[in-house]
Symmetry: C2
Subunit: 137 residues, 2 copies
């Protein structure tokens, strides 16, 4: 997750990741390979001799943005006594902003008490048993 976070911040080179994350080259190598294998990052060669790669987010990787944003906001709220280390400015409106989850149908903000869980097309019995007709609370 920290690798993906840094990739969103514009980091793409092995040495940059290593310096920022302070993990061993072996561990970093293994994690980058796993993220590439999962289709979250792609390796783009920038040098042939020696072979060197940029690690860039794929579409699937960029789609992790809401996940990272939600985690960051939760961390800012509960584990950032000095305030958030990083804030986002919305380019279009120019304001420092938080991300608010809203309903894709009506556009109003939604939280756990605003929705009901119902079985979807890929429903598996045990997962939905507790959810059926029940308010998420």
């Amino acid at each position: 997750m920290l690798i993906v976070r840094d990739a969103f911040l514009g980091v793409s080179r092995f040495d940059q990741f290593q310096e920022r994350l302070g993990i061993s080259r072996n561990v970093l190598n293994e994690r980058l390979a796993r993220l590439a294998g999962a289709g979250v990052l792609e390796k783009v060669p920038y040098s042939d001799h020696p072979p060197r790669y940029d690690y860039r987010l794929t579409g699937k990787g960029r789609d992790l943005w809401p996940v990272l944003t939600a985690i960051r906001q939760w961390g800012d709220r509960y584990a950032a006594p000095d305030g958030p280390p990083l804030e986002l400015v919305h380019r279009e409106c120019g304001h420092v902003c938080g991300a608010v989850m809203t309903c894709s149908a009506c556009g109003k903000p939604i939280g756990p008490t605003d929705v009901w869980a119902v079985p979807g097309p890929g429903a598996v019995e045990p997962l939905v048993a507790a959810a059926q007709g029940q308010r998420l609370s």
Copy 2:
């Protein structure tokens, strides 16, 4: 995370968690204790003899809802060939809905290319170095 997910679905009893997650009682005990220690769950006694507890989400735990929702939606998109196992219905508007991240200032949908990262009050040098004045992409 699966424990927290189940807690959102209304599960609160040790035996229910165990049955749904299929993990050993020891591992479950240790994880429930860790979540309670982190202030995400609280133990609420429902029986004195023998001592038995409900595990309920605290406010801090309920604030994980956007994290779980974002993870679920990403999983539904990339790892649910049969369709989502679970869908949400917005109580107010009555529609099956997704959660869309919108700007807290202007209300428009936001994604990684719509925002810039700037150092916040709790900025730590290495974290923001790559972010300063840079578009998240």
